[in-house]
């Protein structure tokens, strides 16, 4: 109950972590099933339809329900602490964002049990995703589930923007903000501009499917190419929503373990902003083979290649942060150091793909599969691992085992390269992506076998991490406030895990890497910016949970509004939108309660603060 009602950013972070971990696990199992099917030619482990459902759900789950929530978990756990705030700007909305994400994700995954998962690829290209060619409710689960989950992301993004703009501790100017706070800020801005595009796209596709509209149906005058534009105007920035936080994490971890400040901080900030900006300009490089014509292809090719420049700046700045440092390879830094070469490999194939005439060959082959897994797994997942190992003691008060951590790293990275490096060659040798099997004697057999073995090793690495988490959870909470000893930013100046008010007194920030600066000046902690006083706290409330349940019911009701059920009464309820209305009533009712009932929250008094 405590967890359902919480509005504390630290608890919401843990909720995001568990829910994200759950979906990541589901997505991972789907990946292993895909690889098992492809272990040999003409395998019949799963049938073609199931395979298409697996690839669709693997992509969708990993991107929207796996890695994004884990990113949000770290942001929630860390951002208020890093900027010296007591919570996010809107704690109630923060909880609402989590619950809508969770119920959207649950709705999407219910499709496995309710007559077929979405099967048109995570990009859901029309007309394949239209009712004429995808007759089950699968794609409805996709459109409505993602719509609900997307609400949560948008709410979260706006919340972080407001938090970072308004709640930085005194003295923390934008150019004194830690890099992770910066990348969170930019990521949130991308969310704010990119998510409305997918929202609109999903609404239109829902209308096509459920209300019989013709936005993307060629026979009715609609355009399938329009869907591709809408999808990728969101979809490409989405890549940066994923990778920028990883850049932020790496920029935190490397200076800590090199005992050096980040090399070229201001160029890092501007590179981040530039990447975000360019990220919106390049969507059509996913559409080189759509037939947009040479002028569009040339423009989008060149603008895409330009992204290599700010990304290159980042890579070299990280390397030169390590240069001249005193580098300690604790598990977080192992992942961060492994990230640099691995991500670079994903980056260079990105530039190769940007060359449009070469992309005519790369597009929709395993070369592309290799490329984006190098970026998302070799980049983002490695970054997340670095961040989780790094901030785990701060979030839970317990240090993860270093031995197991190192085993996790080596197993995972070996498995990763084994899985995806060979896929570059598979693509060039003519293997298209999204094929449920392949004919023998095309020189695909050996490399696919290698790839599947690698995937198994990656799975083993994940299990080692889970074992580490489980073993650690049984140890006493004994991590100090600054367990890595070289913490540079504000979160390390308070106990682990932090008290619910975070900072007894808001700290005064006197420079970049505020806590490091005080330590170097010989101070034990931060200088407070205010006297000890009564701290205002928001009340716990079940309303965000109830609102999300309402939207979930409304979504299900809308999805099945055209179906005939065995029971006439049930059909009556669905076909007359009664279920939909009921769900919306719950949501709007909860909103009404929230508006009418004035909750002033509560206070932690100074005596209580001193008493602890």
């Amino acid at each position: 109950m405590d967890w359902i009602m919480t509005v504390d950013h630290k608890k919401i972070a843990i909720l995001y972590l568990w829910a994200g971990g759950l979906f990541f696990g589901i997505g991972g199992i789907e990946a292993l099933l895909i690889r098992w099917q492809l272990i040999k030619p003409m395998n019949d482990f799963v049938d073609a339809q199931t395979f298409n459902e697996l690839i669709t759900m693997h992509g969708t789950t990993m991107i929207f329900l796996g890695v994004m929530p884990i990113i949000f978990a770290l942001m929630n756990a860390v951002i208020p602490l890093q900027i010296g705030a007591r919570d996010v700007a809107f704690p109630f909305l923060n909880a609402l964002g989590f619950w809508t994400f969770l119920f959207g994700g649950l709705l999407l995954n219910l499709s496995w049990m309710m007559g077929g998962a979405p099967d048109a690829g995570w990009t859901s290209y029309t007309p394949l995703s239209g009712t004429a060619y995808s007759g089950t409710h699968g794609v409805d689960f996709y459109t409505i589930g993602l719509q609900i989950a997307g609400l949560g992301t948008l709410i979260g993004g706006i919340n972080f923007l407001a938090t970072i703009i308004t709640m930085r501790a005194p003295g923390m100017s934008f150019m004194r903000m830690p890099m992770f706070a910066w990348t969170t800020f930019i990521t949130s801005a991308i969310i704010l501009f990119a998510f409305p595009a997918i929202t609109v796209g999903l609404v239109l596709l829902t209308f096509d499917r459920i209300l019989g509209a013709n936005f993307f149906v060629p026979g009715g005058g609609g355009s399938p190419v329009l869907w591709q534009h809408i999808f990728w105007i969101f979809g490409h920035p989405e890549v940066y929503i994923l990778i920028l936080p990883a850049f932020g994490i790496i920029s935190e971890v490397i200076p800590t373990f090199a005992r050096k400040r980040l090399f070229g901080y201001s160029s890092m900030v501007f590179a981040t902003i530039l990447i975000a900006f360019l990220g919106f300009m390049v969507w059509a490089h996913h559409m080189f083979t759509t037939g947009l014509g040479p002028v569009a292809n040339a423009l989008f090719a060149v603008s895409t290649m330009l992204i290599a420049v700010p990304t290159g700046i980042k890579i070299f700045n990280w390397l030169f942060t390590l240069w001249g440092g005193s580098v300690r390879f604790a598990t977080p830094n192992l992942f961060a150091s492994g990230f640099i070469p691995t991500f670079t490999m994903g980056g260079v194939t990105g530039v190769m793909l940007a060359s449009a005439p070469a992309d005519f060959q790369f597009h929709d082959t395993y070369f592309v599969v290799a490329h984006f897994h190098y970026v998302i797994v070799g980049g983002l997942v490695m970054g997340l691992f670095a961040g989780l190992h790094y901030w785990w003691p701060k979030m839970f008060g317990r240090m993860l085992s270093e031995t197991l951590g190192k085993w996790t790293f080596w197993t995972f990275i070996t498995g990763f390269h084994l899985t995806f490096f060979v896929q570059h060659f598979l693509g060039l040798m003519g293997m298209q992506r999204r094929v449920f099997t392949y004919l023998p004697n095309q020189h695909f057999d050996l490399l696919n076998l290698v790839s599947t073995i690698g995937a198994g090793l990656m799975g083993a690495g994940m299990l080692l991490f889970l074992a580490n988490v489980w073993i650690t959870s049984r140890k006493p909470m004994d991590a100090g406030g600054d367990p890595w000893e070289d913490g540079r930013t504000l979160e390390w100046s308070i106990p682990s895990p932090p008290p619910e008010y975070n900072f007894k007194q808001t700290p005064l920030v006197r420079g970049l890497d505020a806590f490091w600066k005080e330590k170097m000046a010989g101070n034990k902690g931060m200088t407070p910016a205010e006297p000890i006083g009564s701290i205002h706290m928001p009340s716990a409330t079940p309303l965000p949970f109830i609102m999300s349940v309402g939207i979930f019911i409304a979504g299900l009701g809308f999805m099945f509004s055209r179906d005939q059920f065995v029971s006439g009464f049930v059909s009556f309820l669905f076909n007359n939108y009664i279920v939909t209305a009921l769900g919306l009533l719950i949501t709007f009712g909860a909103m009404l309660v929230r508006s009418l009932y004035d909750d002033h929250g509560w206070h932690i008094e100074p005596e209580e603060l001193e008493g602890r």
């Binding site: 073609a48 298409n52 290209y125 007309p127 394949l128 060619y133 060629p218 399938p224 190419v225 400040r261 070229g264 901080y265 201001s266 083979t289 759509t290 037939g291 040479p294 292809n297 040339a298 090719a301 290649m305 290599a308 420049v309 290159g312 700046i313 070299f316 700045n317 390397l319 390590l322 240069w323 001249g324 005193s326 580098v327 300690r328 390879f329 150091s337 640099i340 670079t344 260079v348 530039v351 190769m352 060359s355 449009a356 005439p357 070469a358 992309d359 060959q361 597009h363 929709d364 060659f425 693509g427 060039l428 040798m429 003519g430 298209q432 992506r433 392949y438 004697n441 095309q442 170097m520």
Partner: protein, 348 residues
């Protein structure tokens, strides 16, 4: 002697990797890395340029990374605080300008090739025009200048430019012959795509669908058969010849009533399904059952036709052909005799 053996052992992994890369080149009729035509060659040219640049970048990044990770590792007992450098304007300008130059080096030929490959030959009198239509899960090839249609095997004269016009009848597909050219999507009419390629050498090249189009997406294969000019003209004439129906009048009647509701042979039937004229001389049945009994993975055309007709959903799940036995009420014997007839329907 010992030393030679040791240095050879050190080289083994390198040789292994090199061997794998060479083996990784793939089949001549399929691999992007072994281009058989100018379009695929120009794509590969760009790839080679890009990969050379990228290998240089990777080598630089890897060596700096290896150097810093080894050189600046914290030794036991080392507790000092290293110098807190802020950054270096010069260095940062350096690694902004160098990538920019590399990007320009790649961007110029990219743009040039985009426009070169963007040339379509639809107005070219010497080019052979072919209308490609994607279907779930087969390919239709129409030669408007000759008034003929065929399916699955695209016959082209070697050395001539082929001007394609591509559309789809249902969902999006993508037309791809890796060893001859990059791919292009088939959009519904209204967004018809045009492009062209040529195959200088005679031979059979494997083509694939590269856009997810449903369950049998992976099986939507086709063959491009580049033949001499004379052979091409002969093939055109043979295609135009009147239909050859089964000799047995009863079977001919069944064939006409059941099969020609969707398919066409010669001047008879409809073109809802693949055109069957001369199916006996094609490279494959259903695009994936190879008609080559000299190969381990192939079978005689008659056997392949029987496999297909007895289990259409098993061969290509989700395809739209009704089951000859269940849906059309043909007997096993009739099916076998139709397969026999079709296998014997050869063009030359």
């Amino acid at each position: 002697m010992m030393r030679t053996w040791q240095s050879a052992r050190r080289l083994l992994p390198l040789i292994a990797v090199f061997g794998m890369v060479l083996a990784g080149c793939g089949r001549e009729d399929l691999s992007v890395l072994r281009p058989q035509g100018p379009a695929a060659e120009s794509s590969l040219g760009l790839m080679k340029l890009a990969i050379s640049i990228m290998i240089v970048v990777l080598l630089i990044v890897f060596s700096i990374a290896a150097y810093v990770m080894i050189r600046f590792r914290r030794k036991p007992g080392q507790n000092g605080i290293p110098e807190q450098t802020h950054g270096s304007f010069k260095l940062e300008v350096l690694w902004t300008v160098i990538p920019l130059i590399l990007v320009i080096v790649l961007a110029v030929p990219t743009v040039r090739t985009v426009f070169a490959l963007g040339d379509n030959h639809s107005g070219d009198k010497n080019a052979i025009k072919v209308k490609v239509t994607g279907h779930q899960y087969w390919w239709e090839f129409e030669y408007p200048d000759y008034g003929i249609k065929t399916a699955q095997d695209l016959i082209i004269p070697a050395g001539k430019d082929i001007a394609f016009e591509l559309t789809t009848n249902d969902v999006l597909h993508s037309f791809w012959v890796p060893s001859l050219s990059g791919k292009i999507d088939t959009n519904p009419t209204g967004a018809t795509n045009r492009f062209s390629f040529s195959a200088p050498k005679e031979g059979v090249f494997r083509g694939k669908c590269a856009e997810l189009c449903g369950p049998s997406h992976g099986f939507m294969e086709f063959k491009v058969k580049a033949v001499s000019n004379d052979e091409f003209n002969q093939w055109i004439e043979a295609q135009k010849a009147p239909a050859v129906l089964p000799e047995d009048p009863a079977l001919a009647k069944t064939f006409k009533e059941q099969c020609l509701k969707c398919h066409a042979v010669g001047d008879q039937g409809l073109s809802v399904g693949p055109n069957l004229t001369g199916i006996g001389s094609r490279e494959s049945v259903a695009g994936i059952l190879l008609n080559d009994d000299t190969r381990q993975d192939g079978a005689p055309v008659e056997e392949n036709l029987k496999t297909w007709l007895h289990d259409t959903q098993g061969v290509k799940p989700g395809n739209l052909m009704p089951d000859p036995k269940q849906d059309m009420g043909l007997s096993d014997d009739e099916i076998d005799r139709i397969a026999e007839y079709l296998a014997g329907y050869k063009l030359n």
